[in-house]
Amino acid sequence: MTMQDAPHLPVRAVIPKTVAIKGARTAHDFAKYEKTKKRKVALRKLTRGAIGIIGLLVVWHLMSVAYNLQLILPTPLAVLRRVFAMLTLDSTRWLYGPNVYAHLLVSFQRAMIGFGLAAALAIPLGLLIGRLSSVREYLQPVITAFYPVPGIAWIPLAILWFGLSDKAVIFVVFMTAFFPIYYSTEAGARQINPLLIDAGRCFGANGFGMFYHVVLPATVPYITTGLRIGLGGAWRMIVAGEMLASAQGIGYMLMEARFHFRAVDLMTAMILISIIGYLTELLIVRLIEKRTTEKWEVKAN
């Protein structure tokens, strides 16, 4: 029935149909229902993810076997066995110097130093340039000029400056990790709700106190995004840098594996990078997020 049918009744009360309920339902029942539903959704997500990965492995395996490509495309199982062998220090056909952990450690140290220096410079600089127009006017052009130069382009110059050393690799990692951290931080600092700055000023915050107690925490969601991108960049760059400018590290291992025509070792090294990259992301970025944005329930908008 529409409103036109009953012009004398301008307002009609809509009485909802009662839902048939078997027995009394309590909040506890609903909570239990919601919990099972959540678990189901989580399980479904996991299953679908697993299907994707397994699908990839199956295609990979079939390609390898069907076209007899074991030499350049070893089967997933062969690679998995090789990962296991390397990590348990099995010395069969080990062609790369001390052992895999030594290479991983060298790469890890270089990545962390380069990334750490980048964060230590990019975060304060991003906050200052984001908030203070005088600093922005001086430094923005400098940063803008360097930004389009890809990290990899710095490698030859880094070799010229630092030789085939740790420093050269750390330098290119720094150049790569710096920009995403800086740009995220700067954008976040610029976008802080002006009301929070006003509140800070009215309650007596100024100078360093304002930056430490208001600007920095308000920018954290953006900083973590920058750190995540910067860390990914650092791991990509470490490999490129070590391929060209170092005699140790996981990138060096990759290059050596190519010279020895060991595709299985190449793929193993790639998997190790993926694992260690994921672990550092978990240890650094996720830990920061757990202690900040997740605790405060804030997000970058």
Binding site: L195, D198, R201, C202, F203, G204, T292, K295, W296
Partner: protein, 276 residues
């Protein structure tokens, strides 16, 4: 002015003295004359409500007193000294709670004290005391996102109230985003807190009922350009009864005046005193 009045002024000088304040700012369609020749004195410990239609410059005036906006011309004196900028000698409550999401309720209230380098134990004790008064003692260690909207506004009031040297409290429509029932509760908390330890309050609102319920004196401002309209002295004892004839008579009077003031043909009736 006689000599005796000048002598008396030294002792009982107003906390705020605004002289010939004019303010312009650039809006979306050209420059706006937000305030025109505003002259105002606020005596110590007065609860002054500033009311008026939107565009009457009431929030602009509050921001000038807060030090967040510099007037285009004229001067505003706080304790007879020009206002150089914002500072913890004035407490402020914004329209939104504007709490720091990364601090617990207690840490939010402690913020102003911390910035003034007040020793931690003393700051903590003071903040806890204020939170107890506004009825938030049980949620001190929660983060703002865990609170209801009304509670967040109470934290914002507590944060301003906890400032030890703030004789002046600036409130910019602090409860306008709150539903009617909760707003009344918050008003009661505010009046209760104010009665315990009186300070000067400059309270901007567009809600006539709220103004009559809270204020010692009401200033009605007129729009375009924003300027002083009329003052209403409110002498009813607190807590006030919203249903009393007196309360409603004053409400209708102000409503009528406000409608008149929105009409540009009614002009230059400034500074007439009205007492009820």
């Amino acid at each position: 002015m006689t000599d005796t009045m000048v002598a008396g002024a030294a002792q009982e000088s107003p906390i705020i003295r605004a002289e010939h304040v004019d303010h312009y700012y650039e809006g979306q369609s050209g420059w706006i004359h937000a305030l025109s020749d505003v002259n105002l004195e606020i005596p110590r410990k007065e609860f002054l409500c500033v009311i008026g239609p939107s565009g009457c410059g009431k929030s602009t005036f509050l921001k000038i007193v807060a030090g967040l906006v510099k007037p285009s011309s004229g001067k505003v004196l706080l304790n007879e000294a020009p206002i150089a900028g914002p500072g913890p000698d004035r407490g402020i409550v914004f329209q939104e709670p504007a709490l720091f999401a990364w601090r617990t309720v207690l840490e939010n209230v402690e913020f102003g004290l911390e910035m003034q380098k007040i020793p931690k134990p003393e700051a903590r004790k003071r903040a806890q005391g204020v939170l107890e008064i506004v009825g938030l003692g049980h949620v001190m260690n929660l983060y703002p996102y865990q609170l209801s909207g009304g509670m967040r506004h109470r934290v914002a009031v507590a944060r301003a109230w906890a400032l030890p040297n703030a004789d002046l409290l600036l409130m910019d429509e602090p409860f306008s985003a709150i539903d009617a029932i909760n707003r009344m509760t918050l008003q009661d908390y505010l009046i209760d807190t104010w009665t315990r330890a009186k300070r000067t309050v400059l309270y901007v609102t567009h809600d006539i009922d709220e103004a009559v319920y809270l204020a010692d004196r009401i200033l009605l401002m007129r729009p375009s350009p924003g300027r002083i309209g009329r003052f209403f002295q409110v002498d009813m004892p607190r807590p006030r009864d919203r249903n009393s004839a007196e309360f409603n008579a004053l409400k209708s009077l102000i409503t009528e005046e406000m409608h008149k003031s929105a009409d540009p043909s009614e002009d230059n009736e400034a500074l007439t005193e009205h007492a009820i």
